[in-house]
C-alpha cells in the first residue's frame, strides 16, 4: 500500500533557529497534507498541496511540493516555543482514498 517516509524523526533546535521536515514517497502523489499535533493534543490540519512545484506560506511556515510530486517539505523560519509538537505529512492511499500518515517529526524548541 501507499507509504510515505518522513525525516527526521526528531529535531531539537534553539529558539530562533530554522527547522525543516521532509516527506518522501516512491510513487507519484495526487496531493499531500500536513498536520501538527501539540503534546497531548490531536492532529490539526495545516495545509494541502496539490500542484507540482507548489509553494504555500503561512506566516513563518513554508510548504513545498516537489516537481515530480514525490516529496514535500515543511520549513519553519525562526522557530518559537509555540512551534513545539509533532508534524505529520499525510497522503491519500488505496482505491477508496483512505488517509495514510507518515511517522512524523517531533520538534522541540529550547528557549
Amino acid at each position: 500500500g501507499q507509504q510515505v517516509m518522513q525525516i527526521p524523526q526528531y529535531q531539537h533546535v534553539q529558539e530562533g533557529e530554522d527547522f525543516t521536515t521532509y516527506c518522501n514517497s516512491s510513487t507519484t502523489l495526487s496531493n499531500i497534507q500536513w498536520y501538527k499535533q501539540r503534546p497531548g493534543g490531536h492532529p490539526v490540519f495545516l495545509i494541502q498541496l496539490v500542484k507540482s512545484g507548489e509553494v504555500k506560506k503561512q506566516k513563518r511556515l513554508t510548504f513545498q511540493f516537489g516537481e515530480a510530486k514525490k516529496n514535500s517539505s515543511l520549513h519553519i523560519t525562526a522557530t518559537q516555543t509555540t512551534d513545539v509538537g509533532t508534524y505529520f505529512c499525510a497522503v491519500v492511499g488505496g482505491s477508496q482514498g483512505n488517509l495514510i500518515f507518515g511517522k512524523g517529526t517531533k520538534l522541540s524548541v529550547k528557549p
Partner: protein, 112 residues
C-alpha cells in the same frame, strides 16, 4: 458545530474485556477513520469508512470491529482486550477523498 466527538476520553480495561469507543461527527462528512497512536509514534489506520454502510480495513485491523449505520456515527469495538491495544485512539472525519481531516480529542485506553 461540535465537530468530531469521541467518548470516553479515558478508559482502563482488564484483559479480555470488551468495549466500544464512540465517535460522532456533525459536519455531514462522508469519510470517517479510526487511528491508533502508540506513545511517541505515528498514526496507524485501523478502519475507515467512505459512507454509511461501507467500511474497510486499514493497516492494523486485527482485534477491532467497526460499523457505520449512519453518516454521523462510527463506533470502534474492541473484543477481548489485550495489553497490546493500550494506545490513544483518534477518530477523524473528512468530507471527501483527499480533503481536510478533522480529528476528535482522542480516547486514552489502557489494558491491564
Amino acid at each position: 458545530n461540535a465537530g468530531v466527538t469521541q467518548t470516553p476520553k479515558f478508559r482502563i480495561l482488564k484483559i479480555g474485556q470488551s468495549m466500544t469507543l464512540q465517535c460522532a461527527q456533525d459536519m455531514n462528512h462522508n469519510y470517517m477513520y479510526w487511528y491508533r497512536q502508540d506513545p511517541g509514534m505515528g498514526l496507524k489506520l485501523i478502519y475507515y469508512s467512505v459512507g454509511a454502510g461501507i467500511t474497510d480495513k486499514g493497516e492494523v485491523p486485527n482485534g477491532y470491529n467497526v460499523s457505520r449505520s449512519t453518516t454521523e456515527d462510527f463506533p470502534l469495538r474492541l473484543e477481548l482486550a489485550a495489553p497490546s491495544q493500550t494506545s490513544v485512539y483518534f477518530c477523524a472525519s473528512s468530507y471527501g477523498r483527499a480533503t481536510e481531516a478533522f480529528f476528535g480529542q482522542g480516547t486514552r485506553l489502557t489494558v491491564v
